[in-house]
Structure formats: structure tokens, C-alpha cells
Amino acid sequence: MSLMFPTAPASPSPRLRIATCSLAGCFGCHMSLLDIDETLADLVDLITFDRSPFTDVKALSEDGIDIGLIEGGLCNEENVEVLRAFRARCRVLVAVGACAMYGGVPALRNGIPVAELMQTAYLADGLHDPQLPRDPELPPLLDKVLPVHEVVPVDLTLPGCPPPADAFRALVLAEIARRTPDIATELPLHARRFD
């Protein structure tokens, strides 16, 4: 593998604290983060994961987070709650991928009223025991799927579906060096895709 970005510094301190979550997304962006492959080995002593599907930790540490990676847009009230908690705790909040940036595939429902969607999904003719889901654990849907920047301020975006692994690598290595990367100018074309 050719590393087109500088390797991580040898003795950083303290560890970079990273939190991630998937809102209305497919976890593809998390898979792309893991696709940085052996760079992960370089990062073992440099970063620590806080709230993340990788750790199964549900609450953000009160110590503060260096980078919050948000995958997915907002389709329900729980998504909004999680996002606001990230914004409150994260030094750098990153909208990761097409869904976080503009709603992505889930936003295809935005032209259809929610009541009509629910009717079609749960009450349509031919369904066995048609009924609307009423479990209190299920968060209510928002009228529209929203991108992250329409709910909280965003510091950085990693475009793509998913963003290429090189984009994650550049972001993490730059933040370890305490430098915010300029995605538009620092990343080669193949690493800042919209597709």
C-alpha cells in the first residue's frame, strides 16, 4: 500500500479520543474507516475510541472528544438527541459521507408525507397482521431526513458514499498532528468523492 499522507508521529501525547456513531446510515462509512488497513496498527497507541459501535459504549465520555465522526443523516428524534450530544462534547465534529452531508438514500422519502410512508409500509393490503409500530423504545420519525449541518454546526466533511479510506487516514493523521486538514486541497481527487 502506498501511503500518500504523512505517517503518524512516533510519540504523541495524549491519545486522540475519537467517537463515532451511525444515525440514518448503513455503516458503510464505518467500514471505510476500517479500510485504512495497516494504518490502524500505526494508530493503536495514538488514538482511543470512546462512544462507538466498535466499543458498544452508549454514552459519550465527559472528558471531551477530539473527533466526532457522524455517519448518516437524521431520520428520527433519537438521531437528533445523539447528534446534539456529540456536538456538545466534540472538539471537531465531522459529517461523514453522503447521508450525513445531504441525507443520502434515506432522504429519498423526503418528497412523500410520513403518514403515507407509514401507511404503505405497515398498513398496506396484503400484509400479515398490519399495524403501526407502537413500541415506546422506537423513536418517532422526523418529517424529513435531515443532513447534519441543518441541525448542528459542522466543522468538517468527508464526502463520499462512503468516503474513501484515504480520506479517513488524512483526517486522523492530521488531527493527531493537531492540524485540521483542508479536504478540498489536500486530498487527491479520488479521495474526495461524492459517489
Binding site: A98, Y102, G103, G111, P147, L189
Partner: protein, 246 residues
């Protein structure tokens, strides 16, 4: 009296673009002269085959005047001796980026599953102007899709109203299939048939109106995703490196 400049004199006429002297011949626009000189000016509604209309404003650049700088569209501005223009300044690029971002939020441009992705001029210009987010609140406008024709489909979600299909259908295909109607946010691409549907129009999959569409609004059916990722025109080349495409 012959008022036409002598050819040698005409060829020597120049204007200044980003500090570079650009030669032009009478009748050329700034865009035409810049393109002939190998200078790329970002654009979407302009095409060398047609008269410019100045719809998209993406080619806007700053013109120095005695009353101060003002923005002009390079595709419609006649080249004149002594013009001083600025195209690649951070301020102009920033304005262009905002224009492109507005096109993204005023339509429904889903690059991840659009078969035009990688070959789309809107997407490629967005890369060129450094767009990495959409900045504005998304409108998610409800738009219709016309899949009535056996060989052609129209997805108005992706249309940027550049009118290239309108001009191509009228001037090259000789069919006059398309028009733009409505006002403001309700402006939309119309199909010239009694039903308003493609199936009742004279359009064909081989029409120039389809191949000239800079986005994925007009596409031939059953050819989606024909080019694999990595082999598409703008996978590795900036649109400025492929001027023949536009």
C-alpha cells in the same frame, strides 16, 4: 468603408485574464477566446456547439471597470481589447462554489446511485471548485420522473435547467422536443407532446439532446452503470484537463 479590422490586426487583439494575455478574434466571447488559448473556465450551460445563453452563471468572473469591479459571464461577454478579468481568484472561486452548491440543494442530486456519476459535469465542476459540502439548507423539491418512453427517460430531479437539450433538440436533432417553462422554483423542463410525456414526443435515444445533457437528467435506458468506477471520465482527471468533453 470597410470597418473590419485587418486579419493581422485582429489576431493581435488581446485581453488580460488572470494576468495572462489572451488573443482573440472579433466576434469571439471571452469564453471562446480563453478556451482557444487553453484556459479552462468552469461552466455548465455553455457548449461550443451552441450560442451562449448565460443561464448557469458558473463562468462568472470579475471584470475591472472604471466604476470598480463587477461580475460578468464569460460565455456571453464579447472579447474586447483591454479587458482585464479575474477568474481564478479565491473570491471568484468562492462565488462559483456557492453557485454549484445552490444547484445541488435546489435539485435532488444523489451522486452515490446516479449512473451519470463520474461522467457528470455538475459533479466534475463541483470537484474543480473545491466543493466538499453543500453548505445550504436542502430544498428536496418534489420532481417528476418520465419513464414513459421505451428507450429514453427523464429524471427532473437531476435537471439543472441549462437548456442544452432544448438547444440540441431544436438546432441539431431538428425536433424541438424540449422547453423550459414555469417561474422561479417551479421552473421545469417540459416535453413537447400532447400528453407532455416522452413516449408521445419525437425524441430518440440517439438524439444529441441526450448525449449533451451535462447531468443524468436525460439518459438512454438499459445503459446504466456501463462504465465501471475508475474508468469514468472524471475519476482521475479534473474537468479542466478534459476541455473537449464540454
Amino acid at each position: 468603408m470597410n470597418t473590419q479590422p485587418h486579419p493581422a490586426e485582429a489576431a493581435a487583439a488581446t485581453f488580460v485574464l488572470d494576468g495572462r494575455s489572451i488573443p482573440f478574434t472579433p466576434g469571439q466571447t471571452v469564453m471562446q477566446a480563453a478556451t482557444a488559448a487553453g484556459v479552462y473556465v468552469p461552466h455548465l450551460c455553455h457548449h461550443a456547439e451552441f450560442e451562449p445563453v448565460g443561464n448557469c452563471k458558473v463562468c462568472s468572473m470579475q471584470l475591472d471597470t472604471s466604476a470598480g469591479p463587477r461580475m460578468v459571464t464569460a460565455c456571453t461577454l464579447p472579447a474586447r481589447e483591454g479587458l482585464v478579468l479575474h477568474s481564478e481568484t479565491p473570491a471568484v472561486q468562492h462565488d462559483r462554489q456557492r453557485l454549484v452548491q445552490m444547484l445541488f440543494v435546489e435539485g435532488n442530486h444523489h451522486c452515490p446511485f446516479c449512473e451519470k456519476s463520474g461522467a457528470c459535469h455538475l459533479q466534475a465542476v463541483a470537484y474543480h471548485v473545491g466543493m466538499v459540502d453543500t453548505h445550504f439548507v436542502h430544498a428536496y423539491p418534489p420532481q417528476s420522473v418520465d419513464a414513459s418512453h421505451p428507450d429514453v427517460w427523464l429524471d427532473r430531479n437531476r435537471c439543472i435547467l441549462c437548456e442544452l437539450c432544448v438547444r440540441a433538440s431544436r438546432e441539431i436533432d431538428g425536433k424541438n422536443v424540449f422547453a423550459v417553462g414555469g417561474r422561479g422554483a417551479h421552473t421545469t423542463l417540459l416535453v413537447n407532446s400532447a400528453s407532455g410525456l416522452l413516449k408521445d414526443s419525437a425524441v430518440a435515444a440517439t438524439d444529441r439532446a441526450l448525449s449533451i445533457c451535462p447531468v443524468g437528467a436525460l439518459m438512454p435506458k438499459r445503459q446504466g452503470f456501463a462504465m465501471p468506477i475508475g474508468a469514468r471520465p472524471y475519476d482521475h482527471a479534473d474537468i479542466a484537463e478534459r476541455p473537449a468533453d464540454t
